[in-house]
Symmetry: C2
Subunit: 267 residues, 2 copies
């Protein structure tokens, strides 16, 4: 099922700035039992990302109505672009955003990914630092594409990306956390990376429960020395990392606790 | 006139990776009197950009046939994307690229832009350094969009962009040259920027005619101290810069000579 500006359609104009320039943002959401999970946060992040690019964000109610037309259990993708345009980068004052809602079947990951953990590789591509776009889930995703092209081995579930300085930023499709001596660490994303909703939830839950949290530069060496490493996004939930860069980990107590939080709550 | 995979159509699938990720490349070409200008170079650059992203480039003959169906005098845009995809960044081995050819009317710039020069501003946005994407005319153009959003004054014809180190890289839609004491300078684009076909032509012509050329980091101060500053792309040709960052310039001999080269030849 695909809706473009509310109508069943599988296409957009070739003059849509989403295609021409990647001029837009998106969200990937999970629907389960007819509920769009974490919708309030997802919409909040969509609106914030639109604002960062000076894009008009559709009303939540419009998107909610459209999400309800999707299958009850699916992956939903919302794309907001700056709409159709004349030639050139300049933005017309009357530009009407395009609103695209796409459903896909839920992916079938091995259950062991959540219970035993995943094998992860270190990507060679280094993320560029662009503070104006950092954190935003925008449509300029060639770095992720190139990084994902680095491996074909289906046993590798994800690749971790460093910035030019060699600090860990994120996975190609996930945010990363690690835990050392009871302190939860996740990379600061002010230079690059996507600040995902599950990352935000984990940070909130941890703060509310009194867990020590540190959002800062995360050198690769610090990640390698961690007691636990884990990945999160809205489709996978939370995966512990079992193997990365020549080291292995057992699934630890923090990963179990965080996964339970993510699964049991919807705020 | 728009052709998608050779058929008259104005739309692409919402699952096209060009829209989802900006996973593709493009060229902007000028057609004049039924001729697509500098076609051999344009195709060469398209093929090189496709290769850099591991995209299959369509045969030149296919694109030539399609370009001939466009109006004799127009701006032609060729977009090659990685085609339709399932969800996720991973690239399917059998991915069939999408081939989009769009014509637009030639823009009407004031004739004074070429003869007297243009007023240019300094953009606040700094281009990120990403060697893996530098030089490629890919579809991830949010930096250009954000930079172009910095001004609305129609008297300003272009904005110049610096990298994080403060060196001049390019205009939002053009390459930049300057000349000082008989030496032609243009920024090295190994970290960011688009290496345009007109830039390549100027470098070739200058080398062949024995003009001293330097392709290197170009500090803003060096540009400000230049005897002449000019911009080029395939639609505008060459524009001298008349006013930039608090300084003015007269149109000089080098700009005249380069414009003559660009206009008189088609190699």
């Amino acid at each position: 099922m695909t809706l473009v500006d509310g109508l069943p359609a599988g296409v957009v104009s070739v003059n849509d700035r989403g295609l021409l320039y990647g001029d837009g943002v998106f969200r990937t959401l999970k629907r389960a039992g007819g509920i769009t999970l974490c919708w309030a946060r997802q919409y909040g992040k969509l609106a914030a990302d639109c604002a960062a690019l000076d894009l008009r964000c559709p009303d939540a109610a419009i998107l909610e109505t459209e999400l309800e037309r999707l299958p009850p259990d699916c992956v939903a993708k919302i794309i907001i672009t700056r709409g159709r345009a004349d030639r050139g980068y300049a933005v017309a004052r009357d530009a009407l955003p395009s609103r695209i809602v796409i459903s896909s079947p839920l992916p079938l990951y091995p259950p062991s990914y959540a219970t035993v953990g995943v094998k992860v590789r270190l990507c060679g591509l280094r993320l560029a630092s662009q503070p104006r776009l950092a954190g935003i889930k925008h449509l300029n995703r060639l770095e992720n594409v190139l990084a994902r092209m680095e491996w074909n081995d289906p046993a590798i579930a994800e690749g971790l990306l460093l910035d030019a300085a060699g600090d860990v930023v994120e996975g190609t499709m996930s945010n990363v956390f690690c835990c050392r001596a009871g302190v939860l660490h996740t990379p600061d994303l002010s230079g690059c990376g996507v600040a995902g909703v599950q990352r935000e939830r984990i940070l909130d839950f941890a703060a509310r429960s009194g867990m020590a949290v540190r959002v800062a530069k995360l050198p690769l060496g610090a990640l390698m020395a961690a007691d636990e490493v884990m990945l999160c996004n809205s489709v996978i939930g939370l995966w512990p990392v079992r193997e990365f860069n020549g080291r292995t980990w057992e699934v630890g107590a923090v990963a179990g606790r965080l996964r339970q939080w993510l699964e049991e709550r919807d705020d």
